[in-house]
Symmetry: C2
Subunit: 235 residues, 2 copies
DNA sequence: ATTGTAATATTGAATAGACATATTGGACAG
DNA sequence: CTGTCCAATATGTCTATTCAATATTACAAT
């Protein structure tokens, strides 16, 4: 077993120690850290162990690594916050409320100019334009407006969106490789007032997402939440 | 060198293949995956390689792993979006604008009731209450209102916040172990109108953050951005 | 001076083997 | 049937070694 004084040190310990040293200014922002080999010697472990620790610290944004150059402390340490993007159904059910979905509008049309420009589509590209509502305990929770690119997802033409939300349908039917999410704050316009039962100008939280399948746009969606909605994360 | 047909497969390839199989339903949600040893045999690589692939997929939220039980596809695949939380100075400078900071107010006082309750402080806890502005090219960019717990950070009493923003001061002086971030949408009130040069009721994007050092609250801050601000991430 | 090239240092990744740790499920006693 | 204990097993981690990728540096050729 080995006695208490020489407990083996793992990549966790190394991470902690490196973080401590950076915090204490022993390794200043911008400075070059010892090489993996030197650190392995210092900590009395294999280089792979140091490598894993440093790799995770780089992932976390504390340090930057480059082959041959070495590892250095980032000058302005970036913090990341990871938010869970739930399915609306889940978000509602997690609150302990009853979820209900309703399709408001579905049409096949040529993409409007602003959509074409925002998504870099070809002119005259056909899209499915969908509007729908998500309710929590029969009170409006989220208004969703979505454009699905037909040439990427032809199956949407036969999809039944009366009972299943487009998000759930897409999740089951269409894989995607990339996504971009934007969070913002918008004022309720006439349509939003009606659907979200609020008054003109009310500040609302909006999440927009575009998804791609290998450089072809799959869909662009705007989800606007009821008044007072927020997103929280801990780390 | 080996010929082209037997290129070595790496953990990246394994990740991709697992993702593909889950998407295609070959491995259904909730189902148990083969063990690392079996997968290593299938892919013709070492178990450590499979391990890394699966570890990252678990990190990503696609699968769940438990010792002895094995690895299974998550029933409701959670998507995470990771947002970069920059220092305001950086955010402004990254836009190519000139950053300017101004302290608006600093006082030492007993924490107001709502702060005590929100942060679970003891009654009569002393806090530094700070208000300040961040400008981009001399136009308002962000209004910051902050409460710093003196018993956790006594050094704040001597901090010079005329030239350095509290955020930067804290970053250099005080480590923290946990943080909670909340994003929301708020209407501009009288104070916000004045500082952010906007009109009453304008929807604004707000980021709130509480940080702890080992279960002791360090600070709570509310950062409200100018009209039109948004946060974007790609994954 | 500039450009090309080769040597070299450092991280990135894979392998095979070993031990550690948590958890399940069964054997067994009560 | 119930609770306890133990063995089997899958993941978690570490080691030592090898090779690959890549950025830097030095130096030579133009």
């Amino acid at each position: 077993m080995g006695n208490a004084s020489d407990a083996k040190i793992g990549f966790h310990d190394i991470k902690q120690e490196v973080i401590r040293r950076v915090h204490r200014g022993i390794w200043a922002p911008g400075s070059l850290l010892p090489t993996e080999i030197e650190l392995a010697a210092e900590f009395g472990c294999a280089r792979a162990t140091v490598n894993r620790a440093m790799r995770e610290l780089a992932e976390q944004g504390l340090v930057e690594r480059k082959r041959k150059s070495g590892t250095r402390v980032k000058t302005s340490p970036v913090r990341y916050a990871r938010f869970e993007i739930e399915l609306v159904r889940r978000a509602v059910e997690d609150m302990g409320a009853k979820y209900r979905y309703a399709l408001v509008h579905k049409s096949i049309e040529a993409a409007p100019d602003w959509v074409i420009s925002q998504l870099s589509l070809g002119p005259g590209e056909q899209v499915a334009h969908i509007k729908c509502m998500h309710y929590a305990d029969n009170r409006p929770f989220q208004y969703e407006e979505r454009w699905i690119i037909i040439s990427t997802v032809p199956a949407i033409l036969e999809a039944d969106l009366e009972t299943q939300s487009p998000n759930e349908w897409l999740l089951n039917e269409v894989p995607f490789t990339d996504a971009e999410i934007t969070l913002s704050s918008v004022a309720a316009d006439a349509a939003l007032c009606e659907f979200l039962a609020t008054s003109q100008g009310t500040p609302l939280f909006r999440l927009e997402r575009t998804t791609w399948l290998d450089s072809k746009v799959v869909t662009y969606v705007r989800m606007t939440f009821r008044q007072g909605h927020s997103m929280t994360t801990r780390y």
